[in-house]
Symmetry: C2
Subunit: 375 residues, 2 copies
């Protein structure tokens, strides 16, 4: 597109959402009744919203930058929006909070068509709708070169009930809420495929093929195992563990909690340092997806590296009193959700160790996920 | 600097603020008592904060992008931070709200040294401290080329008391809270000087001169009138009209309210369209700073163009019942603040007109400020 001026673009995106009858975008003047606590939506200098009585605010934001967090080889446009929203909702899950409202700030380079922008917004809304989050405002600016999306999330938690990183105690069981390393392996696959295809960061523009982002997994003659599709989906469309968080909050015996945005090692270290304790993880307890093993074997990658030092799985790692771990596992099972006890909390050191399948105990490096290795 | 990895950088900026004993950055574990409603500050997955009983949330965000909103010729690094915070606090003023908490997301290109980043944060804090706003969280990412700063502001307003754009009524007086056009004229001066000096977007690096951003106004042999310094200050360090907003809120007879981020014309149009009415502005009533007139004469620019179509002055435009306009003016005077009645609200058309000094009435174009003309 020729770039519409700033105001025309804001209007376009706003009108688009009004047209679709999105919740929360109307204000009193539009004659739409306020829903879900939104008193004034997009269209004034700021949004106005209610939070539930007796609740505290929970606030977080996350930014995704083209070429740093995604490119045309790794993400479809709608994935960018979906993941930007998901990573923020995950921060609410990590606090035991309920996400309520979001603001979206997007800086748009000249090369992005209105259609591609629409796709980004589709993804933002798809994830927001999934978790009943209202997009109540934001900012739209131009950018010289690369797309940047910042989502700010506003959630609520019953006063005093936020689940912090600093509350792990000796004897607690360490748990995770799902399989790990999938997203990093998915990224590994996508980057490797892009290199093989030689498409660099630009999408291929063969005749007859729409410019609709990266080719579907398994196309373009690659020989990756079928399971790679699950890894790619985990990278592109992570599902925040909000249901798991709610169970932990309701059960009432959860202690420390963190979402795994930067790999198991990094997040375990954060709990260890904030709580002033040691976490001993048992390799035997850490869940490993069949697809991850299969892909690691095929690609020559190391599944445990992706699990420990990969990122963006957005599962939760937490601790629970040892007495209540079984009860919590039961509650998860009843909800049809996985729950894995993967270690214990100790007070005789500060840090993270791993007991391997052979019984050898080694220190886990304090490092995390730095997005694209090339950056 | 060689770029520290993402986590090292977050730690650096966070530690820096902890070291300085900034308010709100500590959490329970640091042993600092929570202040100003901050229960958990930076260092967990999200911040936790209280808002005042009986209040509604007011939410907004604004992004500033290098080369779109600022460059090395127009802003010192601390100005970038100051203005990013100021524009957000101004949105709270525009709603009659009290700003409370802010989140800062910053995307940092390789070329930005830690020292320059520190300057940006100094500016952010300087403005936040000025208005008692607590920076409670954010995100720090790398960026390939250009600095991007997004600030999200969370404020509060007594339930039902937010001042919207849609509430202007026939017979209301239209007011502004200060002189306009200064920021746009300041930008005009800065861009013109950069062109004259031929420094493009890069700062000069003469021996003995620190790389501390654009030269002070009046240096480098330019012959601009002394008053240009005020215009430049208005562009770099706008002061949000929060005190004015509080008076309007307390007086209780304010109707519509908007902050002037995109020029008088654009903001008046927003009130007109949202309220379904017409605003007739009187040129005789619109305040014009002596420095603006002087600079317009010197540069050959048109002061009324800057006033109507320039932006980023962050004064307020609003309407008040005609009966209460005098009382409001008196309250402003008592507080030592200017207050200008510049027109009236009509119901026989929707839009904005200007009655010139000669009595001729013309339509005011519905266009606003598009940052750098070159973009």
């Amino acid at each position: 597109m020729s770039r519409p001026d700033e105001f025309a673009l804001i209007r376009l995106l706003t009108d688009r959402n009004r047209t679709l009858g999105r919740r929360g975008w109307g204000n009193a003047k539009d004659g739409q009744p306020p829903k879900s606590g939104v008193v004034v939506g997009i269209g004034d200098d700021a949004a106005v919203a209610d939070i539930s009585p007796g609740c505290q605010l929970v606030l977080s934001c996350d930014t995704m930058v083209e070429t740093v967090h995604f490119n045309r080889c790794t993400m479809r446009d709608s994935d960018i929006g979906f993941k930007a929203m998901a990573s923020n909702i995950s921060d609410m899950a990590a606090m035991g909070a309920v996400p309520r409202f979001a603001l979206v700030s997007i800086s748009i380079p000249q090369g992005w068509s209105t259609e591609r922008l629409s796709e980004v917004y589709d993804g933002l809304y798809e994830c927001a709708d999934m978790f009943d989050v209202e997009i109540v405002g934001g900012d739209t600016t131009s950018a010289p070169q690369l797309l940047t999306v910042t989502v700010t999330i506003v959630g609520e938690v019953e006063a005093g009930k936020a689940l912090l990183r600093s509350t792990a105690r000796e004897g607690d069981a360490v748990f995770v809420t799902g399989e790990l390393g999938l997203s990093a392996a998915g990224l590994h696959y996508l980057l490797g495929r892009a290199e093989t295809l030689g498409s660099g960061e630009e999408p291929s523009q063969e005749p007859g093929r729409r410019d609709d982002g990266p080719a579907p997994v398994g196309e373009a003659g690659d020989r990756a195992p079928q399971g790679a599709a699950r890894l790619v989906e985990a990278h592109r469309r992570p599902i925040p563990a909000l249901r798991a968080s709610a169970i932990i909050q309701q059960q009432g015996h959860g202690r420390a909690l963190n979402d795994i945005s930067d790999g198991l090692a990094s997040e375990a270290w954060e709990i260890a340092e904030a709580s002033g304790c040691g976490l001993v993880l048992e390799e035997a307890g850490i869940p490993v997806a069949a697809e991850l093993l299969e892909y690691a074997e095929w690609s020559g990658g190391a599944s445990m590296d992706w699990i420990l030092y990969g990122g963006e799985d957005y599962q939760l790692i937490g601790t629970v009193t040892a007495e209540q771990a079984a009860d919590m596992k039961l509650r998860f099972e009843r909800a049809g959700l996985p729950f894995y006890c993967i270690g214990e909390v100790r007070s005789d050191f500060v840090g993270v160790k791993l007991r391997s399948l052979t019984g050898a105990v080694t220190d886990v490096e304090k490092r995390g996920y730095n997005h694209f290795p090339a950056e």
